[in-house]
């Protein structure tokens, strides 16, 4: 292998082809899955790994899932040792063997060429159900993993090309929805798509060339990442982010603390001072928290850096077990992915003083809901994951306003709201308002992204509503004189005139038909002194009604022409 000389041109061909393979796997997932969270919201990631589980390339539709596959791949290889065979298919979701979230269930497929294990293809997607006490997995009352989901440590569902029916049945006997079997088959299909393409590539260039060039690719990518890190001055930087309410103890509040150490070409994120784990489901896993760290950093560097092992090599992440970002066995952790926003806040705040041109102000934190009930028109059960209401604005940065209606930072515009007319076909609800919310963005020389107000009338009797999220106690923060965004809320106006305000992690039952659901996903934080914002932009924004005349005057010192 060492005899292969690196062909710099072939290197580019490998890089481009790896990318095209994971893209193709992603499209296969989008088109063959049935659960809306997969085919509409694209809550999945597809990836290629070398024989040792090092990341070759990934297509990350939802960045929070992005960095949870390679560690598991390495774990699986170690676990099965020399009992990995061509034609195996391995499932995994277990958060205590490096999974990120119970409902994110992965498929790994070893790729053999000329009898040797040379690579892995993998897909991880958010499954609509994976057992546990509550359909869909969001159980605010859970304190242990078994109340949340079926644990799947690495398990072969197919061995040497043969389906293990007994294993398959054991798993799906513990899952509520048939659709999940189908969607797991779709994950397996996408792995096969990737395997087929990779084998074509190996047949063309041979294993020695592939082995040598992937290492060269890691090197090249590592250098790009190191060059980006080298732009940050050496030193130690600290920041904090807040988490409100663990789902069980009203008034509870937790702090994520990060100490970032930059030394030349390497960067270290140390979360040792972070608060201890909660006695609820508001806890992270190591991989979900580390993914949050990496995706936040990636938004501050050159977006063209390829996503492979070389990219993560200069990054060290320390999260002690027993903290809210890395709960100890057997704590409940379903909410863990949603600790990304406060984690990102801590990192942005820490780095703002030394890389003011790269950080953003705070993003609107996620507050989401899920309604279920019986659709009176069909007498069938419907489930609506409330994508419509949950997408607030992003934080502004130097020179660029925040992005309106983008949603949480861990998706960064990768999750879409429903089409309004499809929403009315697929749920019994009727949409009343879904528009950008005036004055929701944090003021600044560059303003935050605007939030969104969503109002609909609930059309089913005895409706159940689950909420999960944050952002209703503390708004997205501003930077360098920029103002903060607004607060999130969800309110239910019952037909009898009563108003119910669910907690940010809650389960409400018996919501009557005709109730008006009212949600605000507010705006992101602003950046820089609002007095310096372009008057021309302000004139347009006032005319367009995204900033009111009053706010323009009071926050920006802007007088509309003819209004003074």
């Amino acid at each position: 292998m060492s005899a292969v000389t690196i062909d710099p041109i072939l290197l580019s061909v490998y890089a481009r082809t790896f990318r095209s393979i994971t893209d193709e796997m992603s499209i296969s997932m989008e088109q063959t899955t049935r659960s809306p969270i997969l085919c509409e919201a694209k809550d999945y990631v597809t990836g290629l790994y070398d024989g040792d589980g090092n990341m070759l390339e990934q297509t990350e539709n939802l960045p929070i899932l992005a960095f949870s596959l390679a560690p598991v791949c390495k774990y699986i290889k170690e676990f099965f040792g020399d009992e990995i065979y061509p034609g195996d298919v391995i499932f995994h979701n277990d958060v205590f063997s490096l999974g990120n979230q119970n409902n994110d269930v992965a498929v790994f497929k070893p790729v053999f060429f000329e009898g040797r294990l040379v690579a892995w293809t993998a897909v991880k997607g958010h499954q609509a159900d994976i057992g546990g006490n509550v359909a869909g997995g969001y159980n605010p009352n859970a304190v242990e993993v078994w109340q949340e989901a079926l644990r799947i440590p690495p398990v072969k569902v197919v061995e040497k090309g043969k389906l293990r029916k007994d294993v398959w049945n054991l798993i799906f006997a513990n899952v509520r929805l048939d659709i999940v079997q189908h969607d797991m088959k779709a994950e397996m299909g996408a792995c096969t798509v990737g395997e087929r393409r990779l084998l074509e590539l190996l047949a063309k260039y041979g294993v020695p060339s592939y082995e040598a060039h992937k290492e060269a690719l890691f090197d090249a990518t590592r250098k790009m990442m190191e060059a980006e890190i080298a732009k940050i001055p050496n030193g130690s930087y600290s920041g904090e982010g807040k988490v409100f309410y663990d789902g069980r103890h009203v008034g509870s509040k937790f702090t994520i603390r990060v100490d970032i150490e930059v030394k030349d070409k390497s960067i270290r994120f140390d979360y040792s001072r972070t608060d201890p784990q909660t006695n609820g489901f508001v806890n992270g896993t190591f991989t979900s928290s580390a993914s949050a760290t990496i995706l936040t950093l990636l938004q501050m560097v050159n977006p063209d850096i390829p996503h492979n092992e070389g990219m993560v090599q200069p990054i060290e992440i320390v999260i002690p077990e027993g903290t809210i970002l890395n709960a100890a066995y057997p704590k409940a952790t379903t909410f863990g992915n949603h600790l990304c926003p406060p984690n990102a806040d801590a990192i942005q705040r820490a780095l703002a003083p030394v890389m003011p041109e790269r950080v953003t102000a705070g993003w609107n934190n996620l507050l989401a809901s899920l309604t279920t009930g019986i659709d009176p028109r069909t007498n069938e059960k419907y489930v609506d994951i409330g994508f419509m209401g949950l997408k607030g604005g992003s934080g502004a940065m130097l020179g660029t306003d925040g992005y309106d209606h983008i949603g949480m930072i861990d998706a960064s515009g990768g999750v879409l709201d429903q089409d309004y007319e499809m929403f009315e076909q697929q749920t019994p609800h009727r949409l009343i308002r879904h528009e950008l919310l005036t004055d929701s963005a944090g003021a600044g020389e560059w303003r935050g992204g605007l939030g969104v107000e969503t109002i609909f009338e609930i059309g089913s009797d005895d409706t159940q509503l689950v909420t999960f999220g944050d952002g209703d106690f503390e708004p997205a923060f501003g930077l360098f004189g920029g103002g903060s965004g607004g607060l999130n809320f969800i309110r239910l106006h019952y037909p009898d005139g009563q108003t119910v305000v669910p907690k940010n992690k809650d389960l409400i039952t018996g919501v009557p038909r005709g109730t008006v659901y009212h949600q605000v996903a507010s705006g992101g934080g602003g950046y820089g002194d609002p007095q310096r914002r372009s008057r021309k932009l302000l004139a347009e924004e006032v005319r367009n009604g995204v900033i009111s005349e009053k706010a323009a005057r009071e926050l920006y010192g802007y007088e509309a022409e003819g209004s003074a």
Partner: protein, 708 residues
């Protein structure tokens, strides 16, 4: 004698193809005139007139033209450059931001500097009007006509040129939109008007409002352009039939194009895919991959019996849900610039040197190395014979650019660097072809490959190597394939209605009524276009999905299945198409299928240029040999002296072994060491993988036997 001219306006050149019964198609090019593209049209027609035997004046020639088919980029460019009309939108109260929110997508997730696209209608000109229909089209609240009037008063004050109307659930009942449209016609009679249910009465609000707003955005521009074009053509005495190319690969009358301007958003490249089929049929094939390599972009599409269509297109990040050809575009062309990323990897494009200053070898001041510069260094382009010798290429400038920006930093020779650029460019294009083949469920190896654009056939051997495609067809007209394809296009009118129902519980009389209504609307348009009954065809498609899926599959349904109320037959056609696209169906599981939309395409068959068989000229190509020169052979990574043939002198049956170069005035073809070439009956160059004579039997065996 029927004289037809296809005209394709490009960024640099306006292409013309002239066909007459019994004569070989003739190719002309004139310099484009972006400020008023119709000037280049008339200039080109003057050139064509002067080339007639005997030469004619423009005024004497114009009345002889029977048909002009015209592809325009006026609407495309207005959208890409954000230079459309000032528009107002009447929409439902509470959802006026749908157009701007775009369902909350940010296409570049890791790029915080990536901003949202500017909305086609600014917020203060988007009026939310009270009045509401439920999802079945029943009125929940009456339309507030006073609010409409107030909005129109604002539009008038603001000098709005075009008005769009799109209300929630109007696909189920157009009454509110029609009432509002009446008011617009009365109050703002000069405004260009687009009504969503006239354009696209199908479900999905964002798609519909975006499509409607696009129509208004480009409508006034297209009308202005057609005024200029029609005026100039009338001025020179043309009184034949003028047809406009649409994005769906069909043509329409200028009058319809004026009303539904969004139909022309992909007018320019839409001629190519249909033309491809013309050339492969002579080899007994009914499918092909069509690619077109220009200066900045590379376009790929697939035809299987007919060019593939998609209903969920996008232009400049705006959704357009009108049926359009499924053409995939990537930033790879002759002007694509080579560069090294921060990790030191060689990349090509998407940045392009364009036509001005162009690649370094153009000698117009370009200093950055482009694909064309690599092609010059590798010997694929003869610097003395570029564009038939009309433009000399500066080899030294090409070498200098490659040396400075690629070779020296990578520690390579200039030749090695150029070979790398060539290879990376070909790899990019091969990935582009994968987008329309493998990702749509097609195996590219089963498709003949048609490389169009002047530089396309220089790269096609390596692209086909990568994709293991054994047969390439390079038409004589490959440098103007889109213009030629326009002459092959039918009149096509698309209609759609949303009709949500389970397939096994269809209301058949209602379905028949919906189809009948769309067909008679199509018939009315064909009547206006003077198409007799015998030349009309109506194709029905259904958009279906498995219950609870989110994405529909659109497939052709034979009329007899509908007449026989054969839902099982329709279901199995759906299962088959789903299986082809996604590798599985849920037929075994018995998952119910639901219909979402019903589509009708009304087709008026036009006169086509008659395929003309070239006489058999024997297999020996020696008479066309014009010299030898050293070119780069990718298979061995060396330069080698290869024969250079004059393509114009090659005839049906002439055969060449690769590696070799074939040159025509507007095209250079590189036959690599892995391919041989034979000229087919239409005069196209058929490049087949060595040893695969079976693919080109019609040009080899049968003829040999006939002669024996």
């Amino acid at each position: 004698m029927t004289l037809k001219i296809g005209i394709d306006v490009g960024g640099t050149f306006t292409d013309f193809v002239v066909t007459r019964d019994g004569a070989e198609p003739a190719i002309f090019k004139s310099l484009s005139t972006p400020a008023d593209p119709s000037i280049a049209v008339v200039n080109g027609l003057a050139d064509i007139a002067a080339s007639m035997d005997p030469p004619l004046s423009l005024e004497a020639f114009a009345p002889l033209i029977d048909t002009i088919v015209h592809g325009t980029t006026v609407t495309t460019n207005a959208t890409l450059t954000g230079n459309g009309a000032k528009c107002g939108l009447l929409t439902t109260e509470g959802v006026r931001d749908a157009l701007e929110m775009r369902r909350g997508v940010r296409e570049e997730q890791y790029n915080n500097r990536y901003t949202n696209v500017k909305p086609l209608v600014p917020r203060y000109l988007r009026a939310g009007i009270p009045g509401r229909l439920d999802r079945d089209g029943n009125e929940v609240a009456a339309l507030d006509v006073e609010e409409v009037a107030r909005a129109l008063e604002l539009f008038r004050r603001e000098g709005v040129e075009a008005v769009s109307i799109c209300f929630m659930n109007s696909f189920a009942n157009p009454a509110h939109e029609q009432a509002a449209a009446e008011l617009v016609r009365r109050e703002l009679p000069d405004a260009y008007l687009s009504v969503s249910t006239d354009l696209l009465p199908s479900i999905r609000f964002y798609e519909r409002v975006s499509t409607t707003a696009l129509n208004s955005y480009v409508g006034p521009k297209l009308n202005h352009y057609l005024d200029q074009l029609v005026g100039r053509l009338e001025g020179i005495g043309f009184d034949g039939l003028l047809l406009i190319m649409q994005s769906n690969g069909g043509v329409i009358s200028p009058q319809l194009a004026r009303e539904k301007a969004a139909l022309t958003l992909l007018s320019g490249p839409a001629g190519g895919p249909g033309a491809g089929l013309f050339y492969v049929r002579t080899h007994g094939q009914d499918r092909c991959i069509i690619t077109d390599m220009g200066g900045t972009s590379f376009e790929a599409s697939v035809a299987v019996g007919t060019p593939m269509i998609k209903n969920d297109g996008e232009i400049a990040r705006h959704k357009i849900a009108l049926p359009m050809l499924d053409i995939h575009t990537i930033g790879a062309g002759g002007g694509s610039i080579g560069w090294l990323d921060e990790g030191g990897l060689l990349r090509m494009g998407p940045q392009s040197a364009g036509a001005d200053p162009g690649p370094a070898c153009y000698g117009k001041g370009g200093k950055l190395p482009a694909t064309t510069d690599a092609n010059v260094v590798l010997g694929y382009l003869d610097p003395e014979f570029f564009a038939g010798g009309k433009m000399k290429l500066d080899v030294a400038a090409a070498r200098a650019a490659i040396e400075e920006h690629i070779a020296t930093p990578m520690g390579l020779t200039v030749e090695e660097a150029a070979a790398g650029m060539y290879r990376v460019a070909c790899n990019n294009m091969a990935q582009g072809v994968r987008e329309v083949t493998i990702k749509r469920g097609f195996d590219p190896r089963e498709f003949p490959f048609i490389p169009a654009g002047g530089a396309g056939p220089i790269h096609s051997c390596l692209i086909c190597d990568e994709l293991e495609i054994p047969l390439q067809i390079v038409p004589r007209e490959s440098s103007v394939l889109c213009a030629f394809g326009m002459l092959m296009s039918e009149l096509k009118h698309d209609f759609v209605r949303t009709f949500v129902s389970r397939l096994d519980a269809l209301d058949w009389p209602k379905l028949a009524q919906i189809i009948g209504e769309m067909a008679s609307e199509g018939a009315r348009q064909l009547t206006e276009e003077r198409i007799p009954d015998a030349r009309r065809r109506f194709d029905v498609k259904l958009d279906c999905r498995y219950i609870k899926q989110y994405h529909e599959v659109s497939f052709v349904v034979p009329g007899n299945l509908i007449d026989a109320h054969d839902s099982a037959g329709i279901a199995s056609a759906f299962h088959a198409e789903h299986n082809r696209l996604y590798g599985y169906s849920l037929e075994q599981e018995g998952t119910p299928v639901e219909v979402i939309n019903v589509r009708v395409q009304a087709i008026g068959v036009t006169d086509k240029p008659v395929a003309r068989e070239e006489p058999w000229a024997g297999d020996d190509a020696a008479h066309a040999l014009k010299g030898r020169r050293a070119v780069y052979i990718p298979e061995t990574k060396t330069f080698r002296d290869v024969p250079v043939y004059d393509g114009h002198r090659m005839g049906h049956g002439n055969r060449i072994d690769g590696p070799a170069m074939i040159e025509q005035e507007t095209t250079a073809i590189f036959v690599s060491a892995s391919y041989d070439c034979v000229v087919d009956a239409l005069g196209s160059f058929a490049l087949f993988r060595k040893g695969r004579e079976d693919l080109v039997k019609s040009c080899i065996k049968d003829k040999k036997e006939a002669l024996a």
